[in-house]
């Protein structure tokens, strides 16, 4: 009985398992088929579920499987005689019980077939078919769009399908020199402004780095390679000078990336700055001044001042015997940035004595490495005045300070006199007189001056002055020469020397001299006689003397307020002076080689022309692109929507040419280069940038003002006639 029931239950379970198995197979088939056809994952799962539920529907798993199981047992067990329904009966009669027992025995004898695997063949075939489709489909298909997984695999596996690397990022690390104690900077802005000597490190990253070469290019086209570290490229260098650079990347020998031009600006580490308090460079020290001098200075540096000191030099002695002694005083604290330093110089300790000079200057060094910057202040002088000595220079100045005596020329005196005569009626008598007197005085000065040349030392001995024969005569007589006597006296003065020194003893007039005296005169060396001791030869001297005579006369008349009368004498005096000057000149005939005259017509252009090239010819070509020309062209390209490669090349050329100019102009115009670089790489410029570029480039065109012509041709004959008649 129980065995029977167990059998039935087992069959039922087997039926359920079979149904489930069928559902699963269907689900798997559906999943595989759809997964083959669609790349998504959701759709195959949905399809699988659908297949599963379809399988359940087909096998009717939701139904009670007992009747089916009973009918199956009826079929399998030969003499079950369709009596298994008896099991459902609540009360059984004996026959029925017997039948059931019999059945139980029979069932135990009969081996029930494994129903789980029954009729799975069709589903198995379906699964196999879908598997076959799943694996065969990609092989059959020459689809342009392979499944995603496979594409990824292809990329990662080999270079069958080359992908051009794309620029991802670039950073620049600036490491200032250690002594500056400035922090290291790292930024993606590739324009660098840093202290000269800073370490620079570029890191560039591309989408991949296989077969990729990255280089740093300067504006002249020189290139430096980056080193590859992992998937990045790095380049390190030290900043020395300013310049422009760009980063270029080559992939399989072709340029795949070029950055804009960036600028590198090297800022120098400045030398320490010294500002002494005292502006006075030169000062004197007197005996009673204090013996310590307090000096101060403000010293600063952009980083640190490593040391500051004063160098003092003491100079002692004079002339060739000067000794120097140099002393160096360290001042202030070491390693400061900014300080005001005071120092008192003890002159006593320096042994500063009268007549000595002390020079000193401030000096400072900063902490720059490897070589520190050094700077020093102006040199200050302290001079200890030696009051015991008189400076030669002072004497010289004294001499120079004396004003030279002022006197007028004879010509000037004539001019003044004429002027005075002309003004006679216009000015007061008193003024007239005083002016006349003044001119007379000038005349006197001039006379004295010329008298000196003649060796006359005293006023009274100068020129035509002869004392009257006797003292009781008219005193004025000596001053008042009679006109009629003039010539006579001239002759007399010119002919014979006088003895003016001894005029008290001798008679002045030569006519009255006794013969003895005249005789003596030839033997006596009269050294005090100016007449003899001049350098002039006789005739010149006599001429000068005659001139002095005339001056006397003119002075006389001037002092008597009679300029009209004085004028002829003045003129005469000038005449004599001039002729004396002429006489004093000597002429020497030159000697030397006197070449024979050249016969020009015969000689001209007849030189030997052996090594001469008669038809000198030279050919030159300037084929370098000119900035002016390129600027004009590029200005035209600014209005185009896009540039062709030739035009881009021209822009590039201009950019290269301008780079040097920009470098020389200390990078003020580097925005022009940036804009040109953009243009050259085929990018459109924003309006403001274009305007800026136009403005800057226009300055380079070489045109200005309102000039310019119009090119127009007309009939030449008509034109010539027109312009010819237009007069």
């Amino acid at each position: 009985m129980t065995a029977l029931k167990q059998t039935i239950t087992s069959v039922i379970y087997q039926l359920y398992a079979n149904a489930l198995l069928k559902g699963l197979l269907l689900a798997l088939s559906a999943y595989l088929l759809t997964a083959t056809l669609t790349p998504s994952t959701l759709i195959p799962i949905l399809a699988g579920l659908l297949g599963f539920s379809a399988g359940l529907l087909v096998t009717k798993i939701y139904q009670d499987k007992k009747p089916q199981a009973i009918s199956l047992i009826h079929q399998r067990v030969d003499d079950a005689e369709y009596s298994l329904h008896l099991l459902d009966k609540p009360t059984l009669n004996i026959a029925e019980q017997l039948q059931l027992e019999r059945l139980g025995e029979r069932v135990q004898q009969v081996k029930m077939p494994a129903l789980v695997w029954s009729s799975l063949g069709l589903y198995g075939v379906m699964l196999l078919a879908s598997l076959a489709v799943h694996f065969a489909f990609p092989l059959l298909q020459t689809s342009p769009q392979p499944p995603k997984q496979q594409a990824d695999m292809a990329v990662s596996a080999a270079d069958e399908k080359p992908a051009v690397p794309v620029f991802r990022s670039a950073t620049l690390a600036i490491r200032p020199p250690a002594y500056t104690q400035l922090p290291e900077r790292r930024s993606s802005d590739l324009n660098a402004t840093a202290l000269s000597g800073s370490g620079l490190q570029w890191q560039v990253q591309f989408s991949h780095s296989r077969q990729l070469i990255v280089r740093l290019a300067n504006s002249r086209g020189d290139e430096l390679p980056f080193t590859k570290t992992g998937d990045r490229f790095t380049y390190s260098d030290r900043l020395v000078t300013s310049g422009l650079y760009a980063i270029k990347a080559y992939y399989q020998d072709s340029l795949v990336y070029q950055s804009d031009f960036y600028r590198l600006e090297a800022q120098p580490d400045l030398a320490p700055k010294i500002e002494p308090d005292s502006k006075e460079l030169y000062r004197y020290h007197a005996l009673k001044d204090p013996k310590t001098i307090s000096i101060a200075a403000h010293i600063s540096d952009d980083f640190r001042v490593s040391q500051a000191f004063i160098v003092a030099t003491l100079a002692r002695g004079s002339g060739e015997n000067v000794k120097f002694r140099e002393v160096r005083f360290p001042v202030g604290p070491a390693n400061f940035k900014d300080a005001r330093i005071t120092k008192s110089l003890d002159l006593k300790a320096l042994n500063f004595a009268p007549g000595d000079e002390l020079y000193y200057y401030w000096a400072a060094m900063d902490n720059r490495q490897p070589e520190p910057n050094f700077s020093k202040s102006d040199t200050y002088f302290i001079v200890y005045r030696d009051t015991t000595k008189v400076d030669e220079a002072e004497l010289a100045t004294m001499a120079v300070n004396i004003m030279p005596e002022y006197f007028r020329s004879q010509r000037q005196i004539i001019i003044d006199t004429e002027k005075l005569i002309a003004k006679r009626n216009k000015i007061a008598q008193k003024t007239f007189n005083s002016t006349s007197n003044e001119i007379g005085y000038d005349q006197k000065l001039l006379r004295l001056r010329y008298g000196q040349y003649l060796g006359e030392e005293f006023e009274n001995s100068i020129g035509g002055h002869a004392l009257p024969d006797n003292d009781e005569g008219d005193m004025l007589d000596g001053y008042m020469h009679k006109h009629d006597k003039e010539g006579e006296e001239h002759d007399h003065h010119a002919a014979e020397p006088q003895h003016n020194h001894a005029h008290n003893d001798h008679k002045a007039g030569s006519e009255n001299e006794d013969p003895l005296a005249a005789l003596m005169e030839q033997y006596v060396h009269s050294h005090d006689n100016g007449e003899v001791n001049t350098f002039y030869e006789q005739s010149t001297r006599s001429l000068l003397k005659m001139a002095l005579e005339q001056m006397w006369q003119s002075e006389l008349h001037l002092r008597l307020y009679e300029p009209e009368k004085a004028l002829p004498f003045e003129k005469k005096a000038l005449e004599y002076l001039k002729s004396a000057q002429q006489k004093a000149r000597s002429f020497v005939k030159k000697t030397g080689f006197d070449p024979p005259p050249i016969k020009e017509k015969e000689k001209r252009l007849t030189g030997e022309l052996k090594n001469m090239n008669p038809g000198y010819k030279q050919e030159r070509m300037y084929d370098q692109p000119r900035v002016v020309q390129l600027v004009g062209d590029v200005l035209g390209y600014l209005e185009l929507n896009s540039l062709n490669p030739a035009q881009q090349r021209q822009v590039q050329q201009l950019s290269a040419l301008l780079t040097d100019q920009v470098m020389n102009s200390r990078l003020t115009n580097w925005s022009v280069l940036g804009s040109l670089q953009k243009l050259a790489s085929g990018n459109a410029l924003p309006v403001a940038e274009k305007r800026q570029l136009k403005t800057k480039l226009y300055a380079l065109t070489g045109y200005s003002g309102r000039t310019g012509t119009q090119s127009y041709a007309s009939d030449r004959k008509l034109e010539r006639v027109f312009w010819g008649k237009l007069k």
Binding site: Q618, Y622, V631, L635, G702, Y703, G705, T707, S711, Y712
Partner: protein, 548 residues
């Protein structure tokens, strides 16, 4: 005679009339059936309702009648014209009737009534103008203050040649008018208040398309497009007695400018030296020489061929100028201005102490003691003594400026000069001229067309044609040139006047035979009268029950 403006053929009209009739019947029926009011008031109300109905019928039918009008002259004013100006014109012309372009388009303007129309202002569109084909037209333009009028410039200019912008303006105040490129001012002019004609000029400096801006008192008033033709390099020849540093430096500079230079110096009998830079075959365009070589055959031939000669390095200016005059037939006259050896002309430059007494056929070169005399060719005379120190001193910009300024006016007329007067407007025909073509031309290619050209009757070296560019923007001309066509809507102060004047010119050229005009005018009740009447009747209808 009263006319009705009702279109009887339309069914809607019939329905409207039927509705009117029904309304009348309903009004009468409603009043007559009302028992509440006494008979006398019923009569009053009936009358009022009848009046309302008549009014309504009259409004719907829009009765018109003709009256005799004394005038056949009307004004047509664009909407840009201010009222005061319009009144002024109306008073001075004693024309009563004024219309707007909208009136013409909506049919309010009766074309049959007027045989003379005076247009005022420029905001009158082509459609309006085309409706005035029968009338005799006159036009008074109206320009607002500070509006650019009648502006012209060269559409195509050769590099280095003068670009000239001329026009007129009614300036509201004293202000500056500038032509700018980028942020650079190329030329400027101070305008006084009032009507002024202006001319701005500058040498063309770029190659290709160039866009400059006209700026009035820091306000961009117009954008000028022109095309700059590439300047062909010239052939220079130096003829010298002995090579000197000035001419050597100049030759070198010219060579670096891309020109072809030949320096020929006769040092002695049978001995000469020659230097060729960028040598190119052909006769020289400009000969540079000293006065001793004024009679040189090359110099004389250059003048005869219409080329140019420049004399530099004058030793004795007076004698030299006489020698030049004798050799070439020029009329130079020099006047000594200083007893010094040289006079300074600024920028570290020295010049001979003479001035050139001008003549009508001599053009002085601004800024330098130099001038150019027009003859068959051009003869230039420069009194600048030495310029090479500038170049040696590194002031290449100043050197460039001096020689560009002096040599530019000496450039002989070149080939293939294109003359296009800008602004060109898309849709309007423009005259295009080619002067001195390299080979005689029969046709030119513009945009996608080939256009036949005709020789000018005045100058056999000039060929001309008329062409209408269809689209605004840049258009290709032959292979290397381009012309710019302005869009019709911009700049309005220039386009509209051009359009109207063209229309009027065409109108007077092809007159429509005059027909007799009936001096009658249609009148109808104006809208405001209708409104008043309706208001009055409705008020009466509202008030009547209240009065009882």
């Amino acid at each position: 005679m009263i006319k009705l403006t009702v279109n009887w053929s339309e069914t809607s009209t019939l329905f409207t009339l039927l509705a009117l009739a029904a309304l009348l019947l309903m009004q009468i029926w409603l009043i007559s059936r009302n028992r509440m009011i006494p008979g006398r008031r019923k009569g009053v109300r009936l009358v009022l309702n009848l009046v309302l109905w008549l009014l309504l019928a009259g409004f719907v039918l829009q009765a018109r009648w003709t009256v005799s009008s004394g005038t056949t002259h009307a004004l047509l004013a664009g909407d840009d014209v201010p009222r005061s100006y319009l009144r002024q014109v109306r008073d001075s012309l004693s024309v009563r009737e004024t219309y707007t372009p909208d009136d013409v388009k909506t049919g309010q303007f009766d074309g049959q009534r007027f045989d003379q129309v005076t247009l005022i202002g420029q905001n009158i569109d082509a459609e309006t103008l085309s409706r005035l084909s029968r009338q005799q037209l006159r036009w008074f333009p109206y320009y607002a203050p500070d509006q650019i009028q009648d502006i012209h410039w060269k559409g195509v200019v050769r590099k280095g040649d003068r670009q000239r912008i001329s026009g007129r303006i009614r300036s509201s105040k004293q202000q500056w008018l500038k032509v700018n490129y980028g942020n650079r001012t190329l030329d400027s002019l101070e305008l006084p208040a009032g009507n002024t004609a202006f001319t701005l000029q500058f040498p063309a400096f770029s190659t290709g398309r160039t866009v400059t801006e006209l700026v009035l008192d820091q306000q961009v008033v117009d954008t000028l497009h022109f095309f700059t033709q590439r300047a062909e390099p010239l052939r220079y020849q130096f003829i010298l007695g002995s090579p000197d540093f000035e001419s050597k430096t100049l030759a070198d500079w010219l060579g670096k400018q891309g020109h072809s230079v030949q320096v020929q110096a006769t040092l002695s009998k049978n001995i000469s030296s020659s230097l060729h830079i960028n040598s190119k075959a052909g006769k020289p365009d400009i000969v540079i020489t000293d006065p001793d070589h004024a009679g040189h055959p090359v110099v004389k031939r250059a003048i005869a061929d219409g080329k140019s000669v420049l004399f530099i390095n004058l030793a004795e200016p007076e004698a030299n100028s006489i020698a030049i005059n004798r050799a070439l037939g020029s009329t130079w006259k020099l006047r000594r201005v200083s007893s010094e050896q040289t006079v300074s002309i600024g920028n570290g430059l020295q010049a001979l102490p003479y001035t050139i007494a001008g003549a009508l056929n001599q053009v002085p070169i601004p800024g330098y003691p130099a001038a150019v005399q027009q003859m068959g060719g051009k003869v230039g005379l420069s009194l600048v003594s030495e310029t090479f120190p500038l170049r040696l001193g590194g002031d290449s910009i100043a050197y460039d400026r001096i020689w560009t300024t002096i040599l530019n006016p000496l450039r002989p007329s070149q080939q293939n000069n294109v003359q296009v007067e800008a602004p060109l407007f898309a849709g309007l025909a423009t005259s295009l001229r080619i002067n001195n073509p390299a080979t005689p031309v029969a046709a030119v290619r513009i945009a996608a067309d080939t256009v036949a050209v005709l020789p000018s009757p005045l100058n056999e070296r000039t060929f001309r044609t008329r062409y209408r560019l269809a689209q605004p923007g840049w258009h290709r001309w032959q292979d290397t040139l381009e012309v710019y066509a302005e869009a019709g809507n911009r700049p309005a102060s220039v386009y509209q006047p051009t359009l109207i004047s063209r229309y009027i010119a065409a109108h007077t050229r092809y007159p429509v035979p005059a027909t007799a005009v009936a001096p009658w005018a249609d009148k109808k009740v104006p809208g405001w009268v209708w409104l008043m009447l309706f208001l009055m009747v409705f008020t009466a209808l509202w008030v009547e029950p209240k009065i009882g």
